[in-house]
Amino acid sequence: MASVTMTVNGKSVSGEVEGRTLLSDFLRNDLHLTGTHVGCDTSQCGACVIHVNGAAVKACTMFAVEADGTDVATIEGQANADGSLNVIQQAFQDHHGLQCGFCTPGMVMSAAALLKENPTPTEREVREYLEGNICRCTGYHNIVKAIMAASGQDVSAIAAE
């Protein structure tokens, strides 16, 4: 067992983990932050995307010990200080960018990383950035639309509803 300490959503946390404990399992099982979902075993689905030191990371590809000393952000820390949805979350609700909700935390975290890198992405840029996030419900239509809307672009001309 090893001791780890990290900052998660602005709070310092620590725990004892096995060498094989994945960061996703540490977040879910030790910190009870179950918004980070696990949808595959091969780092393909992206339901577990979080931010580590500001970069989008699949939490299932990192051991908890590797995150020692880092600054971690998860879906639970994304809302505004008053508890209201942030701009990206609100755009997902406004544009019906989620259905079952399982991929949603990863989508929101990926979208946040994209918009930090590229504040007004084109449709193609959004689609390519989301290559590592699988959604089975929405056909991505409203996810792409929501992310473009969150970036301040006018999405009213996008295909009929």
């Binding site: 949805l85 949603t104 390519e128 959604c135 056909g139």
Partner: protein, 789 residues
Amino acid sequence: MPKDGGIGASTTRREDVRFLTGKGKYTADINVFGQAAAIFVRSTVANGVIKSIDTSAAESMPGVLAVFTGEDFVDVGGNPAGWLINSRDGEPMKEPKRPVLAHGKVRHVGDAYAAVIAETEQQARDAAEEIIADIEELPAVINMADALAGDNYVHDEIGTNQCFDWGWIEDNRAATDEAIKNAPHVTTLELVNNRLVPNAMEPRASIGTYDAAGDSYLLQTTSQNPHLTRLLISAFVLGIPENKLTVIAPDVGGGFGSKIYHYGEEALVLAASKKVGRPVKWVADRTESFLSDAHGRDHVTKIELACEKDGTFIAFRSETLANVGAYLSNFSTATPTFLHGTLMAGNYTVPNVYVNVKTVFTNTAPVDAYRGAGRPEATYSIERVIDMAARELGMDPVELRRKNFIKRDQFPFTSAAGLEYDSGDYDALMDKMEAIVDRKAFEERRKASEAKGKLRGLGINAYVEACGIAPSNLVGVLGSRVGLYDAATVRVNATGNLSVMVGAHSHGQGHETVFPQIVADMLGIDPASVDIVHGDTSKIPFGMGTYGSRSLAVCGSAMVRATEKIIAKAKKIAAHMLEASADDVDFAEGQFTVKGTDKSVSFGEVALKAYIPHNYPLEDIEPGLEETAFYDPANFTYPSGAYACEVEVDPETGKVTIERFTACDDFGNVMNPMIVSGQVHGGVVQGIGQALLENTTYDENGQLLSASYMDYVMPRADDLPFIAVSHDGGTPCTHNPLGAKGCGEGGAIGSPPTVVNAVIDALQSGGKNVTHIDMPLTPARVWAAMNNA
């Protein structure tokens, strides 16, 4: 115009807030005090005799509480098939037992034969590695034709690999054969409807908790259908009395059919909890999901279309082999029969239809309903062969379809496959689709593609499906062992807000938002004062779950009926309060008013009176304001659509890109257009996935080669364009109170042939004589077709 937040309003979803903030509660997110973990040990061979299983080393591993094998379940029941299908000769289908854990033989890779319960998941996993099973591998039966020809049986005790040989409609067989024999033109197509894995993003998970004090059980599980799961466990598998078993399906991360069914893991965690005296939790990993979730489709079909020289359809005839895998999953026998054969007249006035389906056991995972379930297979066969016939006859594919469409004034129309379509307007859908697509400008777009060195094709399609499943009397005659009604309880609380308990389960469909829209609209109150309770058998009267696009058409109708009862009772209470006769009281906009006066009371005042019945006619009216309704539909509902797809094909590589996709659907009356559009987007993309990307591949030994997202190609955002969707102005369903037909499956039903028709059109435009390619149309397959043609 819809009322504020009422029927027809694109209200944003209230459930989104918890999902967007990480507060959703899926089964894997639930941890119960004292829980232990279960890990299943699964067969690595497709067919084998279990000689022995040595669990002693595993049992002595750290943290291990118990080890189970098939021996532990020989005295309990099996997981049954929900529909009894008879063969053409009247023989009932073959129904081998499907045990909780494999016993005697393993029958597919992933077939669980043991389970380890330990303090932690890691300890259970470590111990599972120490189970020593002596399994004598036998040759696997994978290909359906081989399975029928040989004498290597998946289930030795039934002495055949054929489950049944079904004809629909058997009495029409001779006439159809005769019509085809004498027809001036017959188009024949042999095709494969590729095997898919539903792939809900949330893997299956279950927590079993036995309470010794009450001798009762709780199962928290990933289900579309918690009441059916309870019924199956109680009546067939473990014999736990229904009143001693609660099944809760909390937030569920998608289903698409795969979570309709009861699976052995659910029975195991309940039995294990009783044995170890602790709650037992199991969460599948993705590979396990690929190996053990029910798969979909997997038909091999020969379809013939006979027509006059002018294109008038004379007959459809099809022969299909349908794979059911190694065991019968709960609806696996209904999917290739009554959800498929009955739709084989399509949108057309064709007078003769005959369908033959042989279902086949193989050493593969069970196959059952996946989004659309039988209807995508029917639509694909029909709409591909029509396109081929149009080409052979030199006719425009739209005109050929229009020539044979059932016309608006012909409804209700009984098709040659035996269903009575209640309403529809297929020409209007085609008109709308052609207007959105702007076919006249297509040639310009084709030229632009050709200038880039690409081939461009336009594919079109029409579909009709039968959903809103289903009238119990009818399905009972057809072999269903359950009724397919649904139920709702509307509880008006004393302070005027409402809890509505519904049998349908929401796992992405948005019931928590849409169902309150309907109740609030009927009662003239704020939708925010209505909450839905779903997914808990201890709180809900009964339910048959969510599948077959049935939630709104069936459960929503039950909810309407219960709300009507509420209004009727509330009117009597209001009449007493207003000192009037109930016949003289009108109800509108949340107010009860004496006709022709300004005397009125609000709905909220009536609710309070019902619970504080002072000065109340107790001799005539009971206190309280709560009503339950069960609703059994009079018929299926019949959504329909006209779809178009434009593709570009790179002749150098065979790669297909979707350039445009248009979906015009008739879902009847639409409650929330935003949510309906979302359902279409998702369905269409699953269909595009089937057409271009997804395939479930077993090798000849029964190893699943496509058991991860590295190998099974899911549609990604960059594979797709925006989808143009239109569903306004539909023809209402004539037999349910909402006029709603259901929108969950149309997209997945209508899209695969549209895409394939477009690719064939593109190749033909490039001078390639390619008339058919089997799905998925991967670059390798398209390139090979182009270069061998």
